[in-house]
Amino acid sequence: MNIDKFEEDIKKCRFCFMCRHLSAVGNVTFREADTPRIRSSMIWGVMLDKSKLSNADFIDTIYSCDMSAACRFHCVNHWDENGAVLAARRDIVEAGLAPKDVSKLSKKILSSPAAASVSGPSDIVYYADADTMALPGEMEAFDKIAKKSKIKYATATGGDCGKALKVMGYWQQAKERLGEFVDSLTAAKAKTVVVSSPYVYDALVNDTAEFGIKLSAKPMHVSEFILAQKLKFPRAAGEVYYLESDYLKNYNSNLKFPRQLLSRLKASSPAEFTTDILDEEIPYMFGTNNEESYTCGEGAVVFAQLRPQIVKKMAKYVEARVGNPKADVLITASPYTKIQLSKNTKVKVLTLTELAAGCL
């Protein structure tokens, strides 16, 4: 079984409490089952007795994980409970036990082409996935920045990098889809692929490596790309609160680019202080810490389709932490997070790209 590869991680996490405060789902459902400790304890139960894999409640809990990987990032030894959950999903799928909603969604994804349509050959390709496409402001903002930087680029739309399938446990399909997706970018002669959605960035950086897929272009999150343009931003962003992205921070340890961009935009936040765990200043921190995931399930990519009620609660949790709902502006690196917050709350949210374009 795939979970067997995570035996050591499972053994470490199954009785460990040290990251439970970061269980974004557990913090809104209040269920012990929605914590790394209990999920891995249950996976341990499956390792001992394979018949438990088919327990409907177990499967439901495994698919209720938001996959933020905040636990792994926090953990002093970075034990990979997140990886164990992913392996359990893979085992569930491979045993033909995928729940109906998961199976339906996977079929829907698989029924559309994996290759992206690119507007033409170009050194720089900006890829807009479905989340980015759902935010026209994001694409307009990117275009404004590109024009100001005198950069010509092609736009890629449609297609599928396989990430949603991967997080749902459809490994082989995810690998094949990512291969086709990458081929479509290669065919467009892209040297740099810029993406707004952090999960696509992660697929291009980490999944390609994991699946042994060669990507000749350099993947860039839009924050890194904007920084590289050395633009002048005459307008200061002012007081904003940055919400970390799961994929940038927890999967790629990329705390740098969003922060550097925010400081280039002269963003400020009054909520800076030192936590005794990190012992370092954290600028642009939302809420009370930069450890919790406030992304509404960005890590699980299609969480809003699979667990809309939980996502709604996660969004409300974020809203409850906004100091001044009338004035505060939240900034996210993730179109997905903006969509969920806008849909479920009244908070003001901008993406990093929109903020940057607004400062031009």
Partner: protein, 481 residues
């Protein structure tokens, strides 16, 4: 009353509970039940490790207010079903385990901060809040609860109140019971009561203190007002290495007798210094007994306190100064000790023989326990550190550890071996003037020693329990009650 899932009574009770707290907050699924069947007690962990079923609750409820708690408790009285309050489940004594089934009353939905009073410097919160979340929220306003236990990230404030928990800064800022102003409690019969609003008065015995440490046997603590403190301008640590544990203990006790008011003092015996401290710090600090202490407050006062403390360490006890670097290492790594990879874990068998005694007895307790464990269980290692210090004594955080190869594979035999070590060690501690225990509580693990410990005053505790909980529904079988 035991409720079989096949009985229509199960549905009747579930319906009533759903009416009390909302149906989405009543769990009866396998994951919910499993999630509340293992806490931080070694025996249920080992049981699960060996693939054995752990006792499960019938219902898991998440009330959102004291009123909802009261409704649940009344339903439980009606049907005589056990109610086990569960905060974070991080207790090491099996206190929150549903050993007789029934209702798990999970408090975590009651997680609101109700008021931060900047005039009196207090915070009022619901008790299901995770301590880390509360601390972060008051930090944001420039304050601290000063309650920084290693389980800050997983335990609820209610759990700490119920176990009389403590944090790393206890030596100056106190245990949780020193931090409490007042409580709101739902009694076992479902009344919502409040204790007096201030902790110092002469209006009779102290009800607040009666509920603290009651481990869910006398009701559910639903709200608390705690003191908060401005973040200190300075906090400094310094560490010393002493030739042996006795010298280090004498130096530590002297520091406490000097009334210099350190915020933390911690002393590791020679074995723990050599193994555990070295592993967590990642550097070799040499052999001997490692003693670290710190002061916090205004910078000039801290400097002066440190100067006097150094005199004691260096001039009276000839300690090797590891400097502020040696002290900061501890502060920076204070929680690291508890992460897997640094903490003991299965297949090892291990337990924390938490004991507290005055300075006149603490060394005797340490040696007596160590001797007894070493003699009776030669395969067990015995290590200890002294982690919470008072003007009059300190807490011994002694641990026994069996390597996996020395633990029987059969779970019953493993549990028997485990219990036997506790029997020997705890009886030795009590005999030598120790009290079990200082901050982990009693729960299921130590219930059987309560009569030995309290001697002829135990019936008073039993009387209180009977009066408050006539149907014995609140956490039955725990604390020896």
């Amino acid at each position: 009353m035991f409720v079989s899932k096949d009985s229509y009574m199960f549905e009747m009770i579930r319906t009533e509970l759903a009416d009390a707290v909302g149906s989405e907050y009543v769990g009866t699924g396998d994951s919910d039940k499993f999630g509340h069947s293992i806490d931080y007690y070694w025996i249920p962990e080992m049981w699960h490790d060996r693939g054995m079923p752990t006792p499960k609750p019938d219902f898991v409820v998440h009330p959102g207010s004291a009123e909802e708690v009261a409704k649940v408790v009344k339903i439980a009285n009606q049907y005589k079903i056990p109610v086990v309050t569960w905060g974070g489940g991080s207790g090491s004594q099996g206190g929150a385990l549903p050993i007789a089934g029934g209702i798990i009353l999970d408090t975590k939905r009651m997680n609101k901060i109700l008021d931060i009073d900047e005039q009196s410097l207090t915070v009022t919160a619901e008790t299901g809040i995770i301590a880390r979340h509360l601390e972060w929220a008051v930090n944001k306003k420039g304050y601290s609860t000063m309650h920084l236990p290693a389980s800050i990230s997983c335990a609820t404030i209610g759990g700490f109140l119920a176990h009389r928990g403590t944090g790393v800064l206890s030596t100056k800022w106190g245990k949780i019971e020193d931090m409490v102003m007042s409580l709101e409690v739902v009694t076992p019969t479902g009344e919502i009561i409040k204790t007096l609003p201030v902790p110092r008065h002469a209006s009779g015995p102290d009800l607040t203190m009666m509920f603290l440490g009651s481990e869910g046997t006398l009701g559910v603590i639903t709200k608390v007002t705690l003191k908060i403190h401005p973040k200190p301008a300075a906090r400094e640590f310094r560490a010393y290495l002493f030739k042996d544990f006795h010298t280090a203990m004498s130096a530590g006790a002297d520091l406490m007798r000097s009334r210099l008011e350190p915020c933390a003092v911690r002393l590791y015996d020679e074995t723990e210094t050599l193994t555990h401290v070295k592993k967590v710090f990642g550097i070799d600090i040499g052999s001997g007994a490692y003693l670290v202490f710190g002061f916090d407050g205004e910078k000039d006062i801290v400097e002066l306190q440190m100067k006097h403390a150094r005199k004691i360490m260096e001039e009276k006890y000839n300690g090797t100064d590891l400097g502020s670097k040696g002290g900061d290492l501890w502060w920076k790594n204070k929680y690291k000790f508890f992460y897997p990879g640094f903490m003991f874990h299965l297949p090892q068998a291990f337990g924390t023989l938490d004991t507290v005694a005055d300075f006149a007895h603490i060394e005797k307790v340490y040696w007596a326990m160590k001797k007894a464990v070493n003699e009776k269980f030669p395969k067990a290692r015995f290590i200890g550190h002294f982690s919470h210090w008072y003007q009059w004594g300190c807490m011994l955080y002694a641990r026994f550890i069996f390597e996996g190869k020395d633990v029987p594979e059969d779970p019953r035999q493993a549990a028997a071996l485990y219990n036997a070590v506790w029997d020997v060690a705890i009886r030795e501690a009590i005999k030598n003037g120790g009290v079990i225990n200082e901050h982990h509580g009693v729960g299921l693990k130590l219930g059987r020693y309560m009569k030995d410990l309290y001697a002829n005053s135990f019936p008073i505790l039993e009387g209180i329990k009977k009066t408050l909980d006539p149907n014995n529904i609140m956490n039955p079988g725990k604390m020896g009650l």
